[in-house]
Structures are given as structure tokens and as C-alpha cells.
Symmetry: C2
Subunit: 133 residues, 2 copies
DNA sequence: GTCTCTGCAAAGGGTTTGCAACGCA
DNA sequence: TGCGTTGCAAACCCTTTGCAGAGAC
């Protein structure tokens, strides 16, 4: 994970370690503001701008995804693994990773019917997780 | 479409007709600012706040979806029909509607393996449309 | 006639930026 | 030592809000 940073010429600093650790611990979509607040609480004062810059950097190296559903703050999810999908719990917000499968036939239909050439897709499920059911 | 407004106690005004017409014409994700600019160009000066309020109202009556992928502005898509998916062209931005199918087996697997109870999903394809290929 | 809508401008608030000090590599 | 990073605060800019006049029904 940190190796990916170095590979892109980014440095591994104390702040980045702390932010990434906390970000990974959250396990759901979170905002820069919330992360900043959590770090303040944990006695690791880190500038808000640094949190924003770090999240943006993580996105750049493919270790985070952004999604601002509604107006207001942008939500980031720590997500360092390759292509897959998400099952988002609408009660607790926790996000489970789900392997990608069975979208291919759908894509084939797209090509045939619309002459649309799919190169990427995004699939998210919303519902209730085991704990919240 | 306008009937849905009346049904929810909204009024059909000149501004709303113009905004909806232009919004529907766009055929891709667009922003309040862009819509406002297009209307200004077309000699239909309408306040920016009115554009924002109208988009929000359309979302309320289920005729628009919002999605702010990146930072900055929120993107709205005119989308007055029931559940379906989108095929977004990464070159011209045009969005084609795609009927929903073949996600059910995936959902069943989710229930079985994660004890996650899916109630909703969102699927989007990105690629090149017929015109841009 | 009533109650909603519009336009304007100001307020609000999340995000970015400039710059000097700091600290990985 | 060199160059990326941090922190602070100010700047930005998208979005919302307050209010008086206009308009839908």
C-alpha cells in the first residue's frame, strides 16, 4: 500500500500513515471532515488540508474511491483492491466487498443492442447487513 | 411529467417548463450552472437559484437523479422513468437507458454468502457509444 | 385571493490554494 | 541537500437562504 505511494513519487510521512490507518479502520464511506475530527479526537492533530490532500492522493494511486451522493461533503471509501463491487448497509453504513461476476452477459447484450462498447462498470448494492438485520 | 408536479402540490410555471425542456434535451449528466448558462444563451434568463430549486424538485418527484462523481458541482440527469440502468459514454457523455435484468442471481448469492439483504442496487456502464466508436 | 414561485444578493460551508517551515529520502 | 509535504488562514466557488414582488390556480 505504502509501496504504491513511493512508486508514484509520493513520500510516506507520519501524517499519511496515521490518516491511512484511521481511514482503513472506518470501513465505510466517510468524509474528510469526519476523518479530520476522528484524528483530532485521537490526539493526532493533523491539518484538514492535509486530510484532503491525502485522500486525493489515495484516489490517485487507486486506494480510495470517492462518491458524493447528495449535496455537501464528498464521501471517500478506503478501497485498495482491484475491481469489485460494494454492498452498502443502509443502516450502519458498513461496506462489504463483493467479487465481480455475472455482469458479462449484460455487457454482451449492451454491445449487441445499443452498439455501446462497455469498458468499465460500477455496481453497488444497498440493503441490510447481517448485523443489522 | 408535469402532472406529477401538480400531484405533489408543485406549480407549473414558465421557468419550470423551460428548465425541464432544456434539461431533457441535454441527454447527459449536467450541472445547475451549465443549465443556467444554456438558458441564458437561449434568451431565457432564469435565476440560478431557480434552476437549483427546480432540479431539486425534479429529484423529489422522481424525474431526475443526482450524482457528483468528482469534487465541485453536482451533476443531474433527467431520468423520469422507473428503475433501470445507465450506459454512459466516456467520450460525449451521452447517457442511454438500459433495462434492468440479470442482477437477481447476483443478489441471491449476496443473501446466501454474506447474509446481506439487498433492497436496491445501482449499476452503471461506462464505455463508448455507437456514435463515438 | 391565497399560497407558491421567482430573482437578487448575501450568507453558508465544503474544498482548494499560497507560502514559509519542516522533514523524508 | 533537494524537493515533496504540512499547517494555517485566506481565497474559492458551488449551493442555499431571506425577502419582496409576481404569478399559478
Amino acid at each position: 500500500m505504502f509501496a504504491a505511494l513511493a512508486a508514484k513519487g509520493h513520500r510516506v510521512t507520519r501524517q499519511r500513515r496515521v490518516i491511512v490507518a484511521e481511514f482503513a479502520r472506518v470501513g465505510r464511506y466517510t468524509t474528510a471532515q469526519e476523518l479530520h475530527e476522528r484524528l483530532r479526537t485521537h490526539h493526532n492533530a493533523i491539518g484538514l488540508a492535509t486530510v484532503y490532500r491525502t485522500l486525493e492522493m489515495l484516489r490517485d494511486v487507486g486506494a480510495a474511491t470517492i462518491q458524493s451522493h447528495a449535496k455537501g461533503e464528498a464521501a471517500y471509501l478506503f478501497c485498495p483492491i482491484a475491481h469489485h463491487h460494494h454492498a452498502v448497509c443502509i443502516k450502519c453504513g458498513r461496506v462489504a466487498d463483493v467479487a465481480c461476476r455475472s455482469v458479462t452477459p449484460f455487457e454482451r447484450a449492451l454491445s449487441a443492442e445499443l452498439r455501446f462498447r462497455p469498458t468499465q462498470h460500477r455496481l453497488e448494492f444497498f440493503g441490510t447487513c447481517a448485523r443489522c438485520s
